[in-house]
């Protein structure tokens, strides 16, 4: 079996970029990854571009801008998992022998594409009676409170933790610490959530270059290459009976695919970047990944176990809540953070001695399926 490595990473500032386009942001991230890898861009054999709300062939516009030409590129869309799906495309191309070096990126000019509460498609029968994405997650939070005694303050602590991490990340959308009171007093969105329980609408792009183990041996810098041990993707199941809204089978099943491929288990994971689109989401992801037992993560956050310096840091980059959430860039930016941490290049938010990191995305809503697409990626030093 071919081994796959990340040999270059690039990322733009996340935030509001009123004067820029998705293609321009994407090109900046791709050029960053090429410079980071110190390769001739003509070595790149295939490419995948994640975008959700951008014009068609946005990926080709990015390649055009950076002068990459002729290679196969597919734009991929899997809602909030689009960026991770792009990485999986490059991962499989290397396994298939189609490419020894492949480029994956995600870009989103979300402020230009979209306003207001994020809702499912207009055909969605739940949207027709008033569902919004914050409302769906708020209902999961309310149920979790009932079942496991989660408190409003415990939820707020997740936002405080992630925005504190973001303040250490120069590329993050949010730049400053907040307090639990700030979260509790924020404008209500869908109870128990206020504005600071929700990830912001951000613009941004991120890119990674993957290469085969053989290529790294011949042309690369093995000391900087980080192994992508697994890149798993699953589609949510339509439920045949009402299930639990406080445990994510889809996250568990996708994680199990990844653990099996990587030959590791939850006990081997040193840190995690997970899809905290809302505060409760971080709880559901972490417990679905098997990193904490169901019902126990909120108290662990309270004890500081998920802090940088804690037992298992979660979202050291700031996560979606702090770093921002330009949809298709998110999954790629998670892998960028994992690589920085595993290289020891994470600066003031460096996790000491980290050897195995995990990244998780989940998104999209379809009838009877609460998560349309879920991705889990494992990187090892």
């Amino acid at each position: 079996m071919t081994d796959v490595y990340v040999i270059g990473i690039g990322m733009t500032q996340f935030g509001k970029h009123p004067d820029r386009t998705a293609a321009g942001l994407g090109a900046e991230a791709v050029r960053g990854a090429i410079h980071d890898a110190e390769i001739d861009p003509r070595a790149i054999r295939t490419a995948y571009a994640g975008h959700v709300f951008q014009p068609m062939v946005t990926g080709q516009q990015v390649l055009g801008q950076v002068g990459l030409a002729g290679i196969p590129l597919a734009n991929v869309e899997n809602a909030c998992s689009s960026g991770a799906t792009a990485i999986r495309g490059s991962f499989l191309d290397i396994l298939a022998g189609e490419a020894d070096v492949s480029l994956a990126f995600g870009t989103e000019h979300l402020t230009g594409a979209f306003k207001g509460a994020f809702t499912p498609g207009e055909d969605d029968p739940e949207a027709a009676v008033g569902a919004t994405m914050p409302a769906v997650y708020a209902m999961r939070a309310r149920r979790y409170m009932e079942e496991f005694g989660l408190t409003r303050e415990q939820l707020a602590r997740i936002s405080v933790k992630n925005k504190r991490n973001a303040a250490l990340n120069p590329l993050a959308h949010f730049k400053k610490d907040i307090t639990i009171d700030d979260v509790l007093m924020a404008k209500p969105i869908a109870e128990p959530f206020g504005l600071l329980d929700c990830s912001p609408v951000s613009d941004g792009a991120a890119a990674v270059l993957l290469a085969s183990g053989d290529w790294v041996k011949r042309h690369g810098d093995p000391s900087r290459a980080v192994r992508l041990s697994a890149s798993a993707l699953r589609t949510g199941k339509v439920e045949t009976a009402p299930g639990s809204m406080t445990f994510e089978e889809l996250t568990r099943d996708t994680a199990n695919d990844a653990y099996e491929r990587a030959g590791v288990g939850p006990e081997d994971i040193d840190f995690a970047e997970v899809h905290d689109c809302f505060t409760i989401a971080e709880v559901l992801r972490i417990e679905g990944l098997g990193l904490w037992e169901q019902g126990t993560y909120p108290a662990a956050v309270e004890r500081g176990e998920a802090d940088i310096g804690g037992r298992l840091p979660v979202n050291p980059s700031g996560g979606l809540l702090g770093k921002g959430h330009p949809l298709a860039a998110t999954g790629v930016a998670q892998v960028v953070e994992l690589v920085k941490q595993l290289r020891g290049d994470a600066g003031s938010r460096q996790i000491e001695g980290a050897k195995v990191g995990i990244a998780h995305c989940r998104g999209g809503k379809t009838v009877g399926v609460e998560g349309a697409a879920c991705t889990v990626q494992i990187l090892t030093k």
Binding site: G116, A117, T119, P125, E126, A127, A128, V129, G130, A131, T132, P134, A135, A138, M139, R140, R142, R143, E146, K187, P188, I189, A190, E191, P192, K237, V238, E239, T240, A241, P242, M245, V367, G368
Partner: protein
């Protein structure tokens, strides 16, 4: 020229009788017994392709809820929104016609038919909500 008789906002999903009562329609799999809302053509459990369309029970219990303060322009905020488990079992999302303080997980609720604005032609529409208490 336009008819002023109110019609269901989603006629396939919500059936409203002349007396203003109504029910939701779902699917039942004759092979494995799974229930679905809205209706489906293929059973997600056993892949049977001849599902029955059935009226769903109108009484259920509240699985969870929220109070929505920010929504699309189609909805006036705030409103209570909740998932209701109906016998089948099947889970249905709907607005809850109650003050936020009255609402609690596990409470009994029943379907009610309510005005739901008008369509593009100006015909009044009927939708559904759930209200506290059993129907009987």
């Amino acid at each position: 020229m336009t008819t002023r008789t109110p019609v269901s906002f989603r006629p396939h999903d919500l059936v409203v009788d002349d007396d203003g009562t109504g029910f939701l329609r779902g699917s039942r799999c004759p092979s494995c017994g799974a229930h679905y809302f809205p209706t489906r053509e293929v059973c997600a459990g056993c892949l049977t392709e001849d599902l029955e369309t059935i009226p769903l029970p109108t009484d259920g219990t509240l699985y969870t809820y929220t109070v929505v303060h920010r929504s699309t322009p189609a909805f006036e905020v705030p409103y209570v929104l909740g998932y209701v488990d109906l016998p089948g079992p099947v889970r249905v999302l709907g607005q809850i016609d109650a003050d936020p303080e009255e609402v609690a997980i596990g409470m009994d609720v029943h379907l009610e038919i309510v005005p739901w604005g008008t369509n593009d032609e100006g015909t009044p529409l009927l939708g559904y909500r759930f209200a506290p208490g059993g129907d009987a």
